[in-house]
């Protein structure tokens, strides 16, 4: 058997186990439940509003889905790497042959699968509670899945790289969250990009978050809603181009960054992390 592809298979098994563990974890289920509850409550209280003849939930749901996928893909691996570097998970991976391949494969699968429950707990109740208009029906939802997959590939490596660079879990608050607040606040998901300064608009369009939201809107909203977007179009090619470019950059950049992090792992580094954690608790 080829050792490299074998390690990827073991990593896929690892990711699947992480996912099933997560589905049994009260903590993670609580996260899904409250995120869904908050989102649905927001949509529910605004369900009678309308925008250019379309019901409000129908209009904002795509943007919300885009934001949640991007949010999960950024925050998930960032937390995992910052924490698992300190607690010795990474060192364990390093101590077995091709363990880092297995670890990274597992992370990618686990974090990707984690987006599914979140989409399901929001989309399924929405279909029953609200009037969600999709002109294309099933095809629209398949497009949502496809764009979500591409968005994951584009954003996951960013989360991994940021998580690798943060010095321990206590720094997540500043160095992990700050870029997130900036990236998401200006992503056009929470309010229209056109209202921001022009240089911000340019900067935001270089990042994947905006395009993920735009992609979701293009999948679910009627064609004439594109008039409200920048340039009055869904810019499908640009959307695929930017997300694809980020996915390629990330997949090229993440391995050397992760290797650098792994190289620094040793028993005494983990021991130092443990002392640091104990100190924080006290």
């Amino acid at each position: 058997m080829n050792p490299a592809t074998h390690a990827i298979r073991v990593g896929l098994n690892r990711g699947w186990i992480e996912f099933t563990n997560s589905l049994r974890s009260p903590q993670d289920l609580g996260f899904y439940f409250f995120t869904a509850l908050g989102t649905l409550a927001y949509l529910f209280f605004n369900r009678h509003d309308d925008w250019e003849g379309l019901p409000y939930p129908s209009v904002v749901l795509p943007s919300i889905l885009g934001a949640l996928v991007a949010f999960g893909a950024y925050i998930g691996p960032m937390y995992s790497l910052a924490i698992e570097r300190e607690d010795g998970t990474l060192l364990r991976a390093k101590a077995v042959p091709r363990g880092m391949t297995g670890y990274v494969t597992g992370q990618v699968l686990f974090q990707s699968l984690s987006a599914l429950p979140l989409l399901v707990v929001i989309v399924v109740p929405s279909l029953f509670l609200f009037e969600i208009i999709t002109e294309r029906g099933m095809i629209a939802w398949l497009m949502v899945l496809g764009i979500a997959a591409l968005g994951l590939l584009a954003v996951l490596p960013i989360g991994m790289i940021v998580g690798s660079l943060i010095k321990g879990p206590n720094k997540i608050g500043t160095w992990g969250m700050l870029p997130m607040v900036i990236m998401f606040g200006t992503s056009g998901i929470f309010y229209p990009l056109q209202e921001l300064w022009e240089w911000v608009q340019v900067a935001v369009q270089l990042l994947p978050m905006y395009w993920l939201g735009l992609g979701m809107r293009s999948a679910l909203l009627p064609a004439d809603a594109a008039a409200a977007e920048l340039g009055g179009s869904w810019r499908t090619l640009e959307m695929l181009g930017v997300l694809g470019a980020w996915a390629i950059i990330g997949l090229l950049l993440a391995p050397p960054v992760l290797r650098r992090v792994a190289r620094r792992q040793s028993g005494s580094a983990v021991e130092a992390g443990r002392h640091e954690a104990m100190r924080r608790v006290q």
Binding site: M1, N2, P3, H6, A7, V10, N13, R14, I17, E18, N21, S22, R24, S25, E84, D87, G88, T89, L91, R92, K94, A95, V96, P97, R98, G99, G102, Q265, S266, G267, S268, V270, E271, R274
Partner: protein, 325 residues
């Protein structure tokens, strides 16, 4: 790969052969201006159990991490299983085992699931003579975690977690196993089980084992050879008996006669006791003959280093012939 027979034939006499698993020459390590290792030399042969002793901060962990390939050295030559650990690849990694001190990783995982997943990483590295990995169920029984096989790691006690650490360290049937203070936090029963496991690995599996400990009693029980690291160098290298005799060849003989207690130090305790009985016969009571223990040796050696006469102690042991067993 050359066959073992060819490799043996092509080696000049005295050079490390394929039975040399660890070969460390003039290993140096400094952190900034702080020199931790100033020239460490030692070798280990296949199937040997080496125990590395030394005071806190002597560089035991640094040494072991360099050999594991987890830390870059400043200078010197290091050969582990015929390769430089700083550059060795995944095939080399598959032949080594590292027992890590975990504390909260994989908390959501079950014991058997984690061990099984890590075990699969070794599957491509099986050889006809070394089946890899271990059967997971068998290994779980072997380390005494049978009842915890489906327990989550977060529910394990400290001692149970250490047993799992050991299981993960040996799941790939390593030719060389590193253990850094493996029995810290073990109760006496777990410690006994662990010692049995170490004997089993070295006797049945021909595993070479390098471990550090602060428990001198444990070192005496496990070690084929003891290495004492002090002042950045190996200051003693030999079996526990050899080291003890190096510090003092005298044994202490204690006895009592007519209610009075006596102590006598002599290099030949057997002859002395024979004379004692010849002279006093039944009057001799409470007889006790005690040789220097590893603890006596260790304390003597480390103290001589700390009082600033490292050369003296190193000289005292320079004459020690380490038998090649």
């Amino acid at each position: 790969m050359t066959t073992p027979a060819m490799a043996r034939a092509s080696r000049p006499a005295g050079a490390p052969d394929e039975d040399t698993v660890i070969d460390v020459r003039d290993l140096r390590m400094s952190y900034g201006t702080n020199q931790v290792l100033t020239g460490v030399n030692f070798t280990a042969r296949r199937g040997e159990v080496l125990v590395l002793l030394g005071p806190n901060g002597a560089g035991k962990t640094t040494t072991i991490e360099i050999l594991e390939g987890f830390r870059m050295r400043s200078a010197g030559q290091v050969g582990v299983l015929g390769a430089d650990p700083a550059k060795a690849g995944e095939d080399w990694r598959a032949r080594t085992g590292v027992v890590l001190q975990s504390w909260r990783d994989h908390g959501r995982w079950k014991v058997r699931t984690l061990l099984a997943n890590l075990a699969r990483h070794y599957e491509p590295y099986a050889t006809p003579s070394r089946r890899r990995p271990y059967d997971v169920a068998e290994l779980i029984e072997m380390v005494g975690l049978g009842e915890q096989a489906t327990a989550k790691l977060s529910t394990l006690s400290g001692g149970q977690r250490r047993r799992l650490d050991v299981a993960i360290g040996i799941v790939g049937r390593p030719e060389l196993l590193f253990l850094d203070e493996p029995t810290a936090g073990f109760d006496p029963h777990a410690r006994r089980d662990f010692h049995d496991l170490v004997h089993r690995l070295s006797d049945l599996e021909d595993t070479t084992i390098l471990l550090t400990t602060h428990d001198l009693d444990e070192a005496e029980k496990l070690a084929d050879r003891v290495l004492i690291l002090a002042g950045g160098q190996i200051v003693a290298d030999g079996s526990a008996d050899e080291l003890a005799r190096q510090v003092t060849r005298d044994a202490q003989v204690r006895w009592s006669r007519n209610g009075e207690r006596y102590v006598h130090a002599t290099p030949d305790a057997t002859a002395f006791v024979r004379d004692l009985f010849a002279q006093y016969g039944d009057e001799v009571d409470d007889l006790e003959v005690r040789r220097a223990t590893l603890e006596d040796t260790y304390i003597t050696l480390v103290r001589s280093h700390e009082t600033g006469h490292p050369d003296e102690a190193a000289d005292a042991f320079a004459g020690l012939e380490v038998s090649d067993r």
